[in-house]
């Protein structure tokens, strides 16, 4: 498994934990900024040289900042789109030729319920995640004949550092509560990882272009 992260220490720690947790697992970490094509392209070439061609790809890189839409700085808008949407595309672009050469594979993109519904103070993130949803469907339809399946998971609030992104000072309390609330509480990342594993596995071999929510019923 190639662990890709902009934070080299965090990536190394995950790779080490993985190798320890799963006996015999081969895991390496790579420092990559997914929003930078040169960085993505070089890393994927290095991964192929080190570990052989990939057969599966999971895109989980994301950043979020709550702000009133009329106050978002243009550079910030661009950055949120660059990491969440363009980063997902760059990783797919770099990995797809290897999946095609291997005769098939599976991609899972982490979208968000923010890509399926409107959230206040979250325009850039909603737009980016909505883009991930559509990117997923477009790639699914285009690459299905090459036996490459592309699906997305749409989590709601999750127990990750992103849960603590602050709202604007004047954000309505009931809206803040609604954004972070789910029927079954806030998800453990493991809950979402289970769905990702299912979609990557052969058990989901007839699923492609499917956007599956894993939000404890929040969107329902």
């Amino acid at each position: 498994m190639a662990v890709v992260d902009r934070d080299a220490d965090a990536g190394r720690a995950t790779a080490t934990a993985l190798a320890e947790a799963v006996g015999g697992a081969q895991a390496r970490s790579y420092e990559v900024d997914v929003s930078d094509w040169a960085s993505v392209d070089a890393a994927v070439q290095q991964i192929v040289a080190d570990m052989g061609p990939p057969t599966a790809l999971v895109n989980a890189a994301a950043i979020q900042r709550f702000a009133h839409a009329h106050e978002i700085e243009p550079a910030e808008w661009s950055r949120i789109l660059a990491v969440n949407l363009t980063g997902t595309f760059f990783m797919c672009r770099a990995v797809l030729p290897h999946l095609m050469a291997a005769g098939g594979g599976a991609i899972v993109n982490i979208a968000s319920t923010a890509g399926l519904t409107g959230l206040p103070y979250d325009a850039a993130y909603c737009a980016a995640k909505g883009g991930v949803v559509q990117l997923t469907k477009a790639l699914a339809v285009e690459y299905a004949p090459q036996h490459i399946r592309v699906n997305a998971v749409a989590p709601g609030g999750m127990q990750t550092p992103m849960l603590h992104v602050p709202f604007p000072d004047d954000a309505l309390p009931e809206v803040q509560q609604r954004i972070r609330r789910s029927l079954l509480g806030v998800a453990d990342p493991e809950d979402v990882a289970n769905v990702v594993c299912f979609l990557l596995s052969n058990r989901a071999s007839y699923m492609t272009g499917s956007i599956v929510v894993a939000d404890g019923g929040a969107l329902a």
Binding site: V141, D191, C197, A204, Y206, G217, L219, A220
Partner: protein
């Protein structure tokens, strides 16, 4: 028995053939005790025998699910047999009559809804009596991409699509209302799957030499198999999907992600 559904009891409605049968067999292989329902005694017993012969546990609960008193009695019998009920799968409602709207009778229209909506609601109502008391459970409804739109047109899809849309909506409403009991409710939407229900359609395709052309219109280039659907139902029924509720899984080879459904 080990497996993804070890220690669990599952009621599979309309399990006599196709997706329901594949689901019942798959559940049994994953360690569940399976309460098998089909319309007739012999088809129900045949699935039970198949499960028992391969080392699984199953009981037979034949009967018509459009009769609510019958459904209550079946679910009670299944609950008494196994002592609990963890999973309910609703696979019924695949008659797909092809009538032009102008000539459709009240009876034909109501039949379609009875098979899809009434049967699903009755089974869920009866199962919830166990699941709310147990404070947990998983319900999976089999719907169709016809629930989301025109589905390639055709008279066959008028009542069918509307009825499956009702079940899709029921899925999300129940997910919201019963989340507090840790009861999860999800749907799986398959497109054309090779089952006895689609046999006639597929035979027509073959006679016209159209199967290959049909498959070329499916992104993954093949018609679905019952096991493809059973795998998704299994995932949603299992504890791996503990945080998944109110979700609809399209298991359709990519059909609902593309522009337009396969056409003859």
């Amino acid at each position: 028995m080990n497996g993804r559904l070890a220690q669990k009891v599952a009621f599979v409605a309309a399990a006599g053939s196709g997706i329901g049968r594949a689901t019942a067999l798959r559940f049994a292989r994953e360690g569940a005790s399976v309460a098998v329902n089909a319309l007739h005694d012999n088809t129900t017993q045949a699935v039970v025998d198949e499960i028992v012969a391969s080392g699984g546990s199953a009981s037979a609960h034949p009967g018509d699910l459009t009769d609510s008193a019958r459904v209550d009695a079946l679910m009670l019998a299944a609950g008494e047999q196994w002592g609990r009920l963890d999973v309910l799968v609703n696979c019924g409602g695949a008659r797909v009559p092809a009538f032009a709207v102008e000539t459709t009778t009240d009876e034909q229209w109501h039949d379609e809804f009875a098979l899809s909506v009434d049967a699903t609601f009755y089974a869920i109502r009866a199962a919830l009596r166990y699941m709310t008391a147990q404070r947990g459970g998983s319900i999976v409804n089999i719907i169709s991409p016809a629930a989301f739109g025109g589905a390639g047109g055709g008279h066959a899809m008028v009542g069918y699509g509307a009825a499956k849309a009702a079940v899709d909506n029921l899925t999300r409403i129940l997910a919201v209302n019963y989340g507090q009991y840790n009861i999860r409710v999800n749907a799986v939407a398959p497109a054309t799957v090779e089952t006895p229900h689609t046999l006639e359609f597929l035979r027509t395709l073959d006679e016209r030499g159209g199967r290959e052309a049909w498959q070329q219109q499916i992104p993954l280039r093949r018609i679905g198999q019952p096991d493809d659907i059973a795998n998704a139902v299994l995932f949603l029924a299992s504890d791996e999907a503990a945080y998944v509720t109110g979700a609809t899984y399209c298991v359709d080879g990519g059909v609902s992600a593309q522009l337009g459904s396969p056409r003859l």
